[in-house]
């Protein structure tokens, strides 16, 4: 079968889709991911079934990014190139603080590339196994970078906190939309696997 043909129908979704993402997201340094040991669903390259970090000492981990009151935002967009299409993965998060540690974190983040695991509010329960719509991985091909970091001391919204905008680099965009992360066939196992990243 050709890889550039539509191969299935999309039918009405009788589950009601829920917008937004949770306040907890997880950042992983791009170079820390052991891509050789990660696994995908054999029928769907957008379904990541094992996300594993490399072996190193001290042990590599993911980092939690905790927002507040739906302060994290996500957007995916297709980008039309001359011959092919690619994808922009965007993630906006807010830091409600301004300590020297926060500033050091931001400064280091601006020079790094990272993957983001985000948790959607939408958990489609009508399809089996349920839980496949919950976790998504952004920046699988190249990692995301910080494209903007701003602090307005008089901001009415952030009250002097930081607004960080992460996304793809200007030239190299992702080859696919964000990957679904579903480990071990259940949402419980997926949560355990994410906990094992921390």
């Amino acid at each position: 079968m050709a890889c550039n043909k539509i191969a299935a129908s999309i039918l009405e979704n009788c589950a009601r889709i829920v917008p937004g993402i949770k306040d907890n997201a997880y950042l992983i340094n791009f170079d820390d991911v052991d891509k050789d040991a990660c696994g995908f669903d054999p029928d769907n390259p957008l379904l990541l079934t094992q996300l594993v970090l490399k072996t190193a000492s001290p042990a590599l981990t993911a980092f939690q990014m905790q927002g507040f009151n739906f302060s994290n935002e996500h957007k995916t967009e297709m980008v039309k190139k001359t011959y092919q299409k690619s994808w922009e993965h965007g993630f906006v998060f807010r830091i409600f603080d301004n300590t020297p540690e926060d500033k050091l974190w931001i400064e280091q983040a601006t020079h790094s590339r990272f993957l983001i695991i985000q948790e959607n509010n939408y958990n489609k329960s009508l399809s089996s196994p349920y839980g496949r719509t919950v976790f998504e991985v952004l920046g699988w091909d190249f990692g995301l970078e910080v494209n903007a970091a701003e602090r307005d001391a008089n901001s009415d919204e952030l009250l002097g906190g930081w607004l960080i905008t992460a996304g793809c680099s200007d030239l190299l965009k992702e080859s696919m939309p964000p990957l679904a992360l579903f480990v071990g066939g259940t949402i419980t196992n997926t949560r355990s696997a994410i906990a094992a990243l921390l």
């Binding site: 052991d34 050789d36 040991a37 094992q50 996300l51 594993v52 970090l53 490399k54 072996t55 001290p58 042990a59 590599l60 981990t61 993911a62 603080d97 300590t99 540690e101 050091l104 480990v183 071990g184 066939g185 196992n189 355990s192 696997a193 994410i194 906990a195 094992a196 990243l197």
Partner: protein, 144 residues
């Protein structure tokens, strides 16, 4: 430093009066030594969370098998065999490696052939000594 921090961990967690700046400094240093990260001590439970992480990491580092961060092992139709590094035991690791040798790619630590051979040798010696002791005991009883 890490061992010292572990030695006062229980007291630090249970007794708020045991939480002095000196101990906080030591936890910070141990955390940095173990994880390479700077501990952000701005929240109320940061030091306790760090202590738990230090203890867990140290306990794990003494086990014979270790999974890579994020890896999950599972067996079709048997939920009791599902594990991540947090719930991995030597028995589970050996079961998975025996039944699915390909899963070795998700392990960050497995005993080498040399270590396994030494273990087998030590075990055989122990068994032999035990049998010998049992025989001697039997012989003693007969004599009496």
């Amino acid at each position: 430093m890490i061992q010292e921090v572990i030695s006062f961990a229980r007291e630090y967690i249970n007794n708020p009066q045991a939480r002095n700046p000196e101990r906080k400094r030591k936890i910070k240093a141990a955390f940095k030594q173990l994880t390479g990260e700077n501990l952000r001590g701005s929240c109320g439970t940061c030091y306790i969370e760090a202590l738990i992480k230090i203890k867990r990491t140290m306990e794990k580092s003494q086990s014979r098998y270790q999974l890579k961060p994020g890896a999950l092992l599972e067996a079709f139709g048997d939920v009791s065999k599902t594990c991540t590094n947090d719930s991995l035991t030597d028995e589970l690791a050996e079961w998975h490696l025996k039944n699915n040798p390909g899963c070795i790619k998700w392990f960050s630590k497995v005993p080498s052939a040399k270590e396994l051979a030494a273990e087998a040798k030590a075990e055989a010696k122990f068994k032999e000594a035990k049998e010998q002791a049992a025989e001697e005991k039997k012989a003693d009883k007969k004599k009496r």
